[in-house]
Amino acid sequence: MFAYISRRISTALLILFGSTFLTYNLAALSGDPLAAWRESTDPKKESIIAELIYTYQLDVPAPARYFIWVKNILGVFVGKADFGFSVEGRIPVINLIADAIPVTLRLVTTATILAIVLGITFGVISAIRQYSRLDYSLTFLSFFLFSLPIFWVAVMLKEYMGIQFNAFLEKPQIDIWVNLGTSAVLAFIITGFVGGTRRKVQIIWAATFVVLAVLLALASATNWFRFPGLGIFGVAVLAALTSIGLTNVLAGLGNKKALWAGLVSVGVGVAFYYPFGVLVNESGNYAILIGFALLMLSMSFFIGYFFSTIDRGPIIRSAMLSGFFVSMFTVGDKFMQAWAPYYTLSDGKPIQTDGTHNLAMVTNDFWVINLDLLTHLILPTTALTLISFAGYLRYSRSSILEVLSMDYIRTARAKGMPEREVILRHALRNSMIPLTTLVAYDIAGIIGGAIITERVFGWRGMGSLANDAITQQDLNLLMGTFSISAFLAVMATLAADLIYSALDPRIRIRK
């Protein structure tokens, strides 16, 4: 094992060496860094060009210059890696990258996690309802999303989710016909996930439709979109419903212990509504948020533990997820209450289409500042999630279908195991093994950044650094961003192979 890993790492270093060499020379071929100065009419242009040639050693041919670059990088072993200076502004490349990585991570991590969770969930539902109307719709949706160019989606999202939504918020009243139409469509979508006889489906559709229409009418009448909030009652109801739904999926409503464990977790979470509110009003920070989520998780773990005697897994899981969602709803409620002050501060344009945060906004309120970050994040995250969601959906669907046709699934069904257990315990776990490869590659792509998305939404992340570097013929900057993403890509391939062999004992690593 050790020999294998060390051999793979040394090959990886070799690959990195080769690919940085190729990239360096390609980049040097992609334009003349002095072109702009050669054509300028600046009287001092001769001396500027000479200075540039001296600083960036442009008189050395690119293949040889690459080795100077490598020599500076290898300083990492003596404690000072030198990625050089960027052309524009003469800033150390390492500083530019250090600024860009958090931006890119913020943008891509959320989108990747959302895409993985949603893609797997819908993929599983699609697979266990194979050849149903829902399956066909999801299949069509995934093909459609596969075919969407992200730059086109991004521009449309800016218009429809950004500008038009802001316009709607100026007078947030929903027309009665729009309300009925929206409710009907939403009810139709929600009903799609419920199986059963035609009559049952019709009843569920009607009930969902009425509930949604009434909620939308209430929201419209009370100006909820301008002054949103759930209140303790709203948090309690939402969390209880979520908990019941989760129990139904994870343990079945017949499992009374799981149901009660979930509901008690919800009750405990709701009891923290006011203490949490007081605490964060005085000093809001991330530590309190994370602490609250961790506290809820650990408490609901113990609740689940005490409620269960045998087969603790599903009960603890539904309790913990209920606890997690209560804390999410409580935090969400706080954000909603910060919406009104944020709305005034953002000058009536709450959903921002450009940049990472609103520079003109001056406030010390923790919630308003974070709301500002979130509203900037929402459009690019949606665009990225839409695009990568389809891949996870298709992959997990086919993976589940493949596993469901295995003999051990037939055995599990034959011994009388409930279908829920068959799917959650036997099918789901095994079908997720091939997905690790996909996830590993996706994570490797995170730092490389989303060049197009960053460009459309004006984010200054790794992607836009690379883009600028190519346009400006900035070799140091380009190689800085590129070598980091290439390093991650190579390591992800290795990690994917290792994880795969660890999860699937049938695959042995050659010694």
Binding site: S30, F146, I423, V456, L478
Partner: protein
């Protein structure tokens, strides 16, 4: 979201499924005939195929055929009256709205947008086909060699694949644009194709790795067949499904790659146009002249969607496990006839 885990109608469905591929086999159809029949039963795929054929004919006849560049240029004029290079007086309405004369409207510089979109589609289609075919060919060769010979050959070639994956396509676009920008889009398509075989290689390699362990390969080897014969006569025909399907998916991926690069400005260079470049130019016009933004985008989506559906149809057709999909009415028909039999 309540999920109801109830038993599927799997038993009835499985019974009914047997009428699919196996029924055809008992009819005495050859493998090729079965695949063709199954493909034409897949409605979205057939719609996609017909659309692609008509669309390609429409585009190429409208904008004409352009080969080469510079002095060595060979063109056949299409039936559309304007060329994408014609500078026309600005439209009668100030934002160049669609008229009978300019069905897609006019750009701010007076150019007829229908001619622009047709020329862009022509180039995007051409680039897509070149990338797809070149990537497909290289991927098949690399994957089959790597999977068949295994061992050190496989290890070296897989690490070479890892190496190629790390080369960013945006950089290739930039280099080609700078060095060969005056030669038209063909060099761009070729170089992108040279770097886009990696995914297909992995799939073909996997298929070869599993097929080479099968009995019929051992039988052929015992009978004294050469490596070449085994590859071309025994393994390649069996992996043609994987190759064709993933080449189709490579095609739909490459139109998104090319339009994305052109959107960033590293793909097709002016004076040539591409659907991605058209969107990039006109994204600011979204508010006052939305048709300038909609047409190229819709065309990209429709092309990619049809190709994805064709790929899906091919996958179903080549996969022997995948049988005809069961419709509700088939199920009802089956149960009602069974009931009728039972009553008798």
């Amino acid at each position: 979201m309540a999920i109801n885990f109830r038993k599927k109608k799997s038993s009835a469905a499985a019974e009914n499924n047997e009428t699919g591929a196996q029924g055809m086999e008992t009819l005495g159809l050859s493998q090729g005939q079965i695949i063709r029949k199954k493909f034409f039963q897949h409605k979205p795929a057939v719609i996609g195929l017909i659309f692609m054929i008509f669309f390609a004919i429409f585009v190429y006849s409208a904008s004409g055929i352009h080969l080469g560049s510079g002095d060595a240029r060979f063109t056949i004029k299409g039936w559309w009256k304007y060329s994408h290079e014609d500078i026309l007086p600005p439209g009668s309405c100030n934002t160049g709205c669609p008229t009978a004369d300019h069905p897609f409207g006019q750009q701010a510089n007076g150019r007829d947008y229908f001619a622009q979109v047709m020329r862009g589609s022509e180039i995007s289609l051409m680039v897509m086909v070149v990338i797809g075919l070149l990537g497909g060919l290289l991927g098949t060769v690399m994957g089959s060699v790597s999977g068949f010979f295994g061992g050190i050959v496989d290890a070296v070639m897989m690490r070479f694949t890892d190496f190629v994956i790390t080369v960013p396509s945006i950089l290739i676009g930039a280099v080609i644009g700078y060095k060969f920008g005056n030669l038209g889009v063909f060099p761009l398509a070729v170089f992108l194709g040279i770097f886009s075989w990696t995914g297909l290689t992995r799939l073909v390699r996997g298929e070869f790795l599993s097929l080479r362990e099968r009995e019929f390969v051992d039988a052929a080897r015992v009978a004294g067949a050469s490596n070449r014969r085994i590859i071309f006569k025994h393994i390649l025909p069996n992996s043609v499904g994987v190759i064709i399907v993933s080449t189709t998916l490579l095609l739909s991926g490459s139109i998104l790659l090319e339009t994305g690069l052109s959107f960033l400005g590293f793909g097709v260079q002016a004076p040539d146009v591409s659907l991605g470049a058209l969107i990039s130019i006109n994204q600011g016009a979204f508010l006052y002249a939305p048709w300038l933004f909609w047409w190229p985008g819709v065309i990209i989506v429709v092309i990619a969607l049809s190709i994805n559906f064709i790929g899906d149809g091919l996958r179903d057709a080549f996969d022997p496990r995948q049988r005809r999909q069961i419709k509700r009415k088939d199920y009802l028909l089956k149960t009602s006839t069974r009931d009728a039999v039972n009553k008798r």
